[in-house]
């Protein structure tokens, strides 16, 4: 066994030894020399006395008590020997040495003739990348050393999997560095005027460390989660106490401005997941604010308490301040809100906490004239959270509002582009003949950050990209999650096809089953979208119809679920229109939207090979956020005869051609008849 391992080590001069390694599985096995080429040896091995097979654990256990026994007196030794040996169970056997699982695998090339600087270029390229990506990059690299590095990486990956039991699908080139050879090879080079220069033939090698890391999909998922956290959301917890019996509803008041900005709200009992029913009551009598009535799950008795959580998502709640910024300046946003929380009931204690995405808060307003409600300071800041309160004994009425209600604003630094989709037009076309669902999105995207002041410097942008110090308010790429099983994805804008995108497909999953992985589309707009700039593009993709449509054979009804939009994390959609084009001849069309739509209409859409046109359902929405990623369900019926409409209409066209030919053969167009 020793000799074999030594051979393998010598083989590591950058030349791959795949064939040898492939022959040896995870444990290096000793191959005996006996085979049918050497029958005498085989007989010898079979019948000669063998060395006793030693089980290290047993030996250790047997020898465990011996030292102690040797030091004991006769009486003690007799007692200890009478002990009945325990039955060896799986739990009681503990290995003598607990082997630690390796976390990394180091590997290197041998020293070969290349400059350390040239080799380090490749080192920087592969550093931090997943191992497969690094190998592919080396395969298609134009550099001289790339093939050596490629084989070194492939061998390193194999070794890490085979010897260190690392997970090959998660391996990442965690570190890559270059060292120079032990001695520089110097040669004399004759120059002009009888002088000599020294020509150095450098040699260097690259070392890599492979570790288990996150895959691209995981990194994108984390980035997406970070981006989703950045949305302005308001969560208000009401600790409610009933003073009179028979309370079945609780009224929540939002100021008019707040209600206009709120695009999604949800009321739940704290700790539970089922949302409660909310009814809009409109403006209250003194027109302080907008009232919502929440039906409590159970009637609240006198002095009974309950905690309700109102969660809302506000759109267009922040604005860039200063409104214009150059390319290098940071992005500062301002959020404004009312200081006191409006409520039709008397409030004993209230607190407002404003949490920004980073602790980098430029300024925040200090409330004035609130001494009558405050015991300690009126506002405190800790990290990224600014707390206004606690304020005691607030009774909200018109006088109070006139006297004490004021605006607070928080001016903070925001490190990600603020995106606004001005219009989204989604078209979903169902084809029964092709068993295909095509979804196409026309998106008009705007960067709602501070408008660019001055010129856009391409040089500055590229140097930012090189030094990885991206400016906060420039959108350079987007990551979208498409459903699994997408085919024929396309991305074009007004100029034509945009090739700066990368789609990672995942295989299709059956209808109804939860998709564990999405297809990831990394979009890069044709130009980086700076503050105040717009970009409009179209993306579309096909998915197999079996994944979205179900068929009720008893009634002959087809049901389809179409998602309202493909979420761009952190972006708000101002106006959205979803058009669902059903197959020709579809009847009894019914649809339901996951959240209330602005308007819904039915129209007729005419496309290829249509005679009477296809029914289309058009739904319009406003102010969509990440909470609005629901599925629209449409049900329709298509009789078999409607399916045949298309081929028969084409047949009719063909038949008319044949009829024309029939007529043409019988018409004599000769000028002179003989």
């Amino acid at each position: 066994m020793q000799s074999i391992t030594r051979q393998l080590r010598c083989g590591h001069s950058g030349i791959p030894v795949h064939f040898r390694l492939a022959a040896t599985p995870s444990r290096i096995q000793h191959r005996s020399a006996s085979s049918y080429y050497n029958p005498l040896q085989w007989i010898q091995e079979k019948f000669a006395p063998k060395a006793r097979k030693v089980d290290p654990l047993e030996e250790k256990r047997a020898g465990d008590g011996q030292e102690k026994q040797g030091q004991q007196s006769v009486f003690e030794a007799a007692v200890s020997q009478a002990k009945v040996p325990k039955k060896a169970s799986v739990e009681s056997i503990r290995p003598a040495v607990i082997k630690k699982k390796a976390t990394e695998h180091k590997y290197s090339t041998a020293n070969f003739k290349i400059s350390h600087r040239k080799l380090n270029m490749l080192g920087r390229q592969i550093s931090g990348k997943p191992i497969d990506h690094a190998i592919v990059q080396m395969q298609f690299s134009e550099k001289r050393a790339s093939s050596r590095i490629k084989s070194m990486l492939a061998t390193a990956k194999l070794h890490a999997t085979a010897y260190k039991n690392l997970d090959s699908s998660r391996l990442v080139v965690a570190e890559a560095w270059v060292t120079k050879g032990p001695k520089q090879l110097k040669r004399l080079e004759p120059r002009g005027r009888g002088k000599f220069g020294i020509r150095v033939h450098p040699d260097s090698r690259m070392h890599v460390v492979l570790r288990e890391g996150k895959t691209f999909e995981q990194l994108k998922k984390e980035q997406r989660a970070r981006r989703l956290k950045r949305i302005v959301s308001a969560g208000t917890t009401y600790a409610v106490k009933a003073l009179q019996p028979g309370q079945t509803t609780y009224q929540i008041m939002l100021s008019k401005a707040e209600r206009a900005k709120t695009s999604w709200l949800d009321v739940k009992v704290k700790g539970q997941t089922v949302p409660l029913e909310v009814a809009e009551l409109g403006e209250d009598e003194s027109s302080i604010g907008h009232l919502l009535s929440v039906s409590l799950p159970k009637e609240l008795a006198v002095n009974g308490t309950l905690n309700l959580v109102l969660e809302t998502v506000q759109t267009h709640a922040t604005h860039p301040y200063p409104e214009r910024a150059t390319q290098k300046e940071p992005q500062l946003l301002k959020y404004e809100a009312d200081l006191f929380i409006t409520s039709p009931y008397a409030t004993l204690v209230q607190r407002t906490k404003v949490r920004s995405s980073s602790p980098n808060v430029v300024s925040y307003t200090t409330p004035h004239d609130v001494d009558s409600f405050v015991k300690d300071g009126s506002v405190t800041k800790s990290g990224a959270t600014i707390t206004y309160g606690p304020y005691y004994n607030i009774q909200m009425d018109a006088d109070f509002i006139a006297k004490y209600q004021q605006r607070i604003s928080v001016h903070y630094n925001f490190d990600h582009p603020v995106l606004e989709v001005k219009t989204l037009c989604r078209t979903a076309e169902i084809s029964h003949w092709g068993s295909n669902l095509n979804i196409e999105d026309d998106i008009y995207l705007r960067n709602a950050g501070p408008t660019l002041k001055g010129h856009f410097s391409r040089l500055e942008h590229q140097s930012q990209s090189y030094f990885r110090k991206f400016s906060a308010h420039i959108l350079s790429d987007l990551t979208l999650h498409l459903p699994p099983g997408v085919t024929n994805a396309y991305y074009y804008d007004q100029n034509g096809n945009v090739s700066t995108s990368h789609l990672r497909k995942t295989p299709s999953v059956a209808k109804g089953s939860k998709a564990s992985q999405y297809s990831v589309l990394e979009l890069k707009p044709r130009y980086p979208v700076l503050g105040g700039w717009n970009y409009s593009y179209t993306i579309g993709f096909d998915t197999p119809l079996e994944d979205s449509v179900s068929y009720d054979a008893n009634n002959g009804i087809y049901n389809i679920g179409i998602p309202v939009m493909t979420l761009i994390p952190g972006a708000v959609v101002d106006d959205a229109e979803v058009k669902i084009i059903l197959p020709e001849g579809a009847t009894n069309v019914e649809f339901i939207s996951p959240f209330p739509e602005l308007s819904s209409t039915m129209s007729t859409h005419i496309t290829y090979l249509d005679t009477t046109g296809r029914p289309a359902v058009i739904l319009a929405y406003k102010d969509l956020t990440d909470k609005h990623t629901g599925v629209i369900y449409v049900s329709y019926q298509v009789p078999f005869s409607a399916h045949l409409k298309k081929p028969l209409s084409v047949s009719a066209a063909f038949f008319s051609l044949f009829a024309f030919a029939f007529m043409a053969r019988r018409v004599d167009l000769r000028l002179h008849k003989k």
Binding site: E429, S431, H432, W433, G434, S435, N436, N438, N488, A510, K511, G512, D542, P544, L545, E546, D547, V549, S550, Y551, D552, A553, Y558, N559, G561, I592, P594, T607, Y608, L609, V631, Y633, S635, H643, K646, P647, L648, S649, V650, S651, A652, A653, F654, F655, L657, F658, A659, A661, F662, R665, R666
Partner: protein
């Protein structure tokens, strides 16, 4: 919202859509149908002119039906899912 949940559950429980003709079979079907249409059209052109054009109408109708289905299959196989 109960209605929505009910429809969602129904959609999940029902069997998936299965087309009359599987999508992967469409390209070869298109090829066969269109070549037969072409052959029949050629045959149509060689038929003699009769007073009662029984044969001609028969050949023409078969060819046009095959052509109709062939064109639909062709459209679907090149990606224009009609």
């Amino acid at each position: 919202m109960d209605n929505y949940e009910a429809i969602q559950a129904l959609h999940k429980s029902l069997p998936a859509f299965s087309p009359y003709v599987s999508a992967s079979l469409l390209p070869p079907i298109a090829l066969i149908l269109l070549t037969s249409t072409f052959a029949l059209a050629f045959y149509f052109s060689t038929l003699p002119k009769d007073t009662f054009p029984l044969r001609e109408t028969a050949v023409a109708s078969i060819a046009s039906v095959l052509g109709g289905f062939g064109v639909v299959a062709l459209f679907c196989s090149v990606g224009v899912n009609v």
